[in-house]
């Protein structure tokens, strides 16, 4: 473009230089100006603008502009010349108008340019896009072409294989056929050979037969001691033509019998089957006839045919039953009617199926009908539940069995066994200890009771002695009143006084003596108690009282014992029994002479305890 600055140096020269050297016409300058018009006005432009027209070359620039504008169709810048004068006046209005026009033009051009540019861009992008698409499609086309070629190749190969296999198959078939032909031919050959050999063989046989038969002198004979009667006892008969006829008759009779028997069987079977068919038909009719009451709105052919069929079949039934033979027409009628009924039943069932499916689709429209799926689901659920329950039961059973069955290990079994009984054992131990305590207590009590009984006995004895002395005193008093009184009193007192002293001794002595003279207890007592004049009744009384006491004590103790000894300990009870008897022993051995021998063993022990 050149340096704008040089233009400002000298306008004319530059312009001419410009035009001559660079061959730039004002139009090119102009176009440059247009191109640079989009650029916002800058200093350069300013400078350029100022470079075109300076104060010196106003006229030339005006003339140039006018020339250019007129060539573009704008009105002239000069005022209309009045005459041919050298200088024309500048028409400012025209200038301004031209300027305005130019501006408008400029704007229009700018817009157009923008549009064109955007369109250009668009077109460019479209072009790119299309080119991409084109490239892709080309690729795809290539690929598909390649694929097609590959498939074609494969197809060709498979067809080749197919042809080969067909060929093989044909070959095999041919071979098979050939082999079969071979076999057939060989078979005929063998047959032929066989026949030939057989003929030869037959000839030999014939020859042999002749030889054999010829030798009549040989002993082909039967020796029998005596004839045996026929099996059925009848005589033999000659062979005549009659017998032949008879044989034939018999044979035919046998055959006929067999056929008749078979026919009977078949007839029976037929009758049964017919009955079954008729039953089936009746049942089918009864199944289908309730449809009659159903909505008659549906003038279906099925219901119509059912009714008609029912009537028809009723008629047929009567006819059939009347004849009841294996008549051709009857058989046909029966089979036809059954087929009809079966068709009706089938259609009915199909309708039901459709209904069910429809209901299932639409939801529960009918209360009675449960959709099949729900039903199935329910059944599945129930089955699952049942299975669960069964499994549970099984596991429980297994556990139970494990518990009850003995374990394989000895130690564990013994442990297990023990552990079940451990509680019981503990309980038992406690009870034992309790029982022992109670036993001890009881023993103590018994001892105290025996002591009390002994004391009681002693006191009684003393009392008896006192009584006896008192009686004596009385008796003496009755005879010698004064004397005795003092004696009695003395006795009594002596007795009473000494009774306490003597009685124990008196008591002890006979007691001590007792073990030595067990056998005759009563006389000992009497002898010992002679001092105190014990009349035998008194001694017996004493003994009785003793026994009573002991018994009482025994009973008392028994009474005491039984509530205490409620626990079952047989051994303890026995011991107690023994003790009772032992306790009673020293006191009333006479009374209780039937003491058990066992008690005797314990007596020694008890003896020590007694005071």
């Amino acid at each position: 473009m050149g340096d704008w600055m040089t233009v400002t140096d000298s306008e004319n020269k530059n312009i001419s230089q410009y035009t001559s050297e660079t061959k730039m016409s004002p139009s090119s300058l102009y176009s440059q100006q247009v191109l640079c018009s989009s650029i916002p006005l800058s200093k350069n432009v300013h400078s350029f603008f100022s470079a075109f027209c300076t104060e010196e070359n106003i006229e030339q620039s005006i003339a140039y502009l006018d020339q250019e504008l007129t060539t573009f169709g704008f009105p002239s810048l000069y005022e209309e010349s009045k005459g041919k004068e050298t200088k024309r006046e500048l028409n400012i209005v025209a200038v301004l108008n031209c300027m305005n026009e130019l501006l408008v033009l400029q704007r229009k051009n700018l817009l157009a340019q923008e549009n064109v540019e955007t369109q250009n861009l668009k077109l460019g992008s479209d072009m790119d896009h299309l080119q991409n698409c084109y490239a892709k499609l080309k690729e795809q086309l290539e690929n598909s072409r390649r694929e097609m070629i590959g498939l074609q190749e494969r197809d060709r190969q498979l067809q080749c294989k197919n042809r080969n296999l067909h060929q093989l198959l044909k070959n095999e078939k041919d071979e098979v056929q050939k082999l079969q032909n071979i076999i057939a031919s060989r078979a005929t050959q063998y047959n032929h050979d066989m026949k030939r050999k057989e003929r030869e063989y037959n000839k030999l046989k014939e020859r042999l037969h002749q030889l054999v038969m010829n030798k009549k002198d040989k002993k082909i004979a039967m020796e029998v001691l005596n004839y045996v009667g026929r099996a059925d006892g009848k005589r033999g008969s000659w062979r005549t033509g009659k017998t032949e006829a008879r044989n034939e008759d018999e044979m035919y009779k046998i055959l006929l019998n067999d056929y008749e028997y078979r026919q009977k069987q078949i007839l029976m079977e037929n009758a049964e089957l017919k009955k079954v068919l008729q039953q089936m038909k009746k049942e089918m009719i009864s199944l289908l006839s309730p449809q009659k009451q159903k909505p008659r709105e549906r003038a279906d052919d099925s219901t119509g045919t059912v009714i008609s069929d029912v009537e028809e079949d009723a008629g047929e039934l009567s006819r059939e039953s009347m004849w009841d033979l294996s008549c051709e027409t009857v058989r046909e009628q029966l089979t036809n009617s059954i087929r009809k009924q079966w068709r009706i039943l089938k259609s009915h069932v199909e309708k039901l199926d459709n209904q069910v499916s429809k209901v299932h689709l639409e939801g529960f429209s009918d209360e009675d009908m449960i959709s099949r799926q729900d039903h199935e689901q329910e059944t599945e659920k129930l089955e699952l539940e049942i299975q669960h329950c069964k499994e549970m039961i099984k596991t429980q059973q297994q556990l139970l069995q494990q518990q009850l069955a003995t374990a394989c290990d000895d130690d564990t079994t013994s442990l297990l066994r023990d552990c079940y009984l451990l509680e019981e054992k503990e309980r038992l131990k406690e009870e034992w200890s309790l029982f022992k305590e109670q036993k001890k207590n009881f023993e103590k009590e018994r001892r105290s009771f025996t002591e009390a009984a002994i004391r009681l006995g002693l006191e009684r004895k003393a009392f008896e002695e006192e009584r006896a002395s008192w009686l004596k005193q009385q008796f003496l008093n009755m005879t010698t009143f004064d004397h005795q009184n003092s004696e009695n009193v003395k006795l009594f007192s002596a007795f009473s006084g000494s009774s306490d002293r003597d009685n124990p001794t008196a008591h002890s002595r006979p007691r001590q003596k007792k073990p030595h003279s067990v056998s005759d207890g009563s006389p000992v007592c009497t002898s010992k108690l002679a001092r105190s004049l014990p009349a035998s009744p008194s001694t017996s009384d004493f003994c009785q009282t003793r026994s009573c006491v002991s018994e009482h004590s025994g009973s008392v103790s028994a009474l005491n014992v039984t509530p205490e000894e409620s626990r079952p300990s047989q051994a303890g009870r026995e011991c107690a029994d023994q003790k009772w008897s032992v306790a009673s022993r020293p006191g009333s051995q006479e009374g209780c002479r039937s003491g058990c021998s066992l008690t005797y063993t314990n007596s020694h022990v008890e003896k020590d305890d007694l005071p």
């Binding site: 040989k218 004839y227 099996a231 044989n247």
Partner: protein, 408 residues
């Protein structure tokens, strides 16, 4: 199970009388008749030479002893021990001998199956039947003699069917046993007739071809062909045939290891039983021997209710346990390149009550299958094992008990 003492026996000749009262056994050339309950010797007969075959007459009054080497047949009577009868075939030789159902005729087959001679004990008359066929019985009779299956008497003893071969064609002749008159004579459409058998009701005769061709022909008593049945071609065919006691079914066992049952109304196959090597059906109960001795496995019994598979015992004490399905049976692969290979269903036996069918397949060492008359137990006899299977009728579950038997 108790066993009596061991008695001497030769050639496996030991038979109970048809009425069950006596037991006849042979020792060399002696015939010993014992009481069946006490096993005391009742009679003792002496024959001229070693005995090869003995047979009781149907009324248990006579015993025939066949001496093949000498061509002699000696008949003894139980009622009269001094009675004797000797039949000499002379140079014709003797190959087989049997009683007629009335117990008064003896049918001797001469050597090379030249003819069958019918000797009558009542009239001392002789009849000859020419060209009998030499059919072989199956393996069941291997232990004993090979008796002809070309002769078949009806169960009531009225008729005799005889397989013949003339001019390379097979024929069947039907005779009336009372007077040995020929009733019917017809040819069969077989390559090589292997055997004939009457149905128990005496009205149908089954004839089957040799193992090279699978063909079963059914003739009525009067000689009409009722039906033929052929399961497959080219492979080895029929091995054994058995009628059910009610004549309703005909079981055909073949070399492919399957049993096909035909019904008497249409003579078509109603069902087919296989002998698979592995048992998968959970409804079948398999009993397996607990002891692991070299198991000579017995064939298994197959029918709709669960069946039992019994293994033989090797020691007196052993128990059976129920094996878990699937069970694979041990099978021995026989030599396939020989004639008459030991494959296929060789033995068939219907139970007397018509409920069960026992079959033996393959090379299992079962020599005979025998049902009890009540139809609830089955005796299996092997070479040196004896097994008794007891079936509960409710569910058809079988328990098996076996014992080692002496070689009888």
């Amino acid at each position: 199970m108790n066993f009596s003492e061991v008695f001497k026996l030769s050639s496996l000749l030991c038979k109970f009388s048809p009425d069950g009262k006596y037991l006849a056994s042979c020792v060399q050339y002696r015939l010993v008749v014992r009481d069946a309950n006490t096993l005391q010797v009742v009679q003792l007969y002496t024959c001229l030479d070693q005995i090869q075959h003995i047979e009781w007459s149907a009324d248990s009054l006579f015993i025939l002893c066949a001496l093949y080497k000498r061509g002699l047949v000696q008949v003894w009577s139980l009622e009269q021990p001094e009675w004797h009868c000797k039949i000499d075939e002379g140079s014709a030789g003797l190959v087989a001998s049997c009683w007629s159902p009335d117990g008064r005729h003896i049918l001797n087959t001469t050597e090379f199956h030249l003819r069958i001679t019918v000797w009558s004990l009542c009239t001392k008359s002789v009849s000859y039947i020419k060209y009998p066929k030499a059919c072989q019985q199956g393996e069941l009779a291997k232990a004993a003699q090979k008796f002809l299956k070309s002769l078949a008497f009806t169960r009531d003893g009225r008729y005799l069917a005889l397989a013949e071969r003339r001019d390379c064609r097979d024929y069947v002749s039907i005779f009336v046993c009372s007077d040995w008159q020929l009733l019917r004579h017809f040819d069969t459409d077989t390559q090589d007739l292997a055997g004939i058998e009457w149905a128990p009701n005496g009205c149908v005769l089954a004839a089957w071809d040799s193992c090279l061709e699978y063909k079963v022909l059914l003739y009525s008593l009067d000689g009409r062909l009722l039906s033929t049945y052929c399961a497959y071609e080219w492979s080895l065919g029929i091995k054994s045939v058995a009628w059910s006691p009610s004549s309703q079914f005909l079981a055909v066992g073949s070399y492919d290891g399957k049993v096909r049952v035909l019904n008497h109304v249409t003579w078509k196959m109603i069902t087919e039983f296989g002998h698979p090597a592995t048992i998968n059906n959970p409804k079948i109960v398999v009993y397996k021997e607990a002891e692991k001795s070299p198991p000579l496995g017995l064939g298994h019994l197959a029918f709709l209710p669960p069946r039992a598979v019994a293994g033989p015992l090797s020691s007196p004490e052993s128990k059976y346990e129920i094996a878990e399905v699937p069970v694979s049976l041990q099978t021995l692969k026989p030599a396939a390149d020989r004639a008459n290979p030991r494959i296929g269903v060789g033995a068939l036996a219907f139970s007397p009550d018509n409920y069960f069918l026992a079959t033996r397949n393959g090379d299992f060492q079962v020599l005979s299958l025998c049902w009890h008359l009540s139809g609830d137990s089955l005796a299996l006899l092997g070479k040196d094992h004896f097994c008794l299977c007891f079936l509960e009728t409710e569910e058809g579950v079988g328990t098996a008990s076996g014992q080692r038997g002496d070689h009888t």
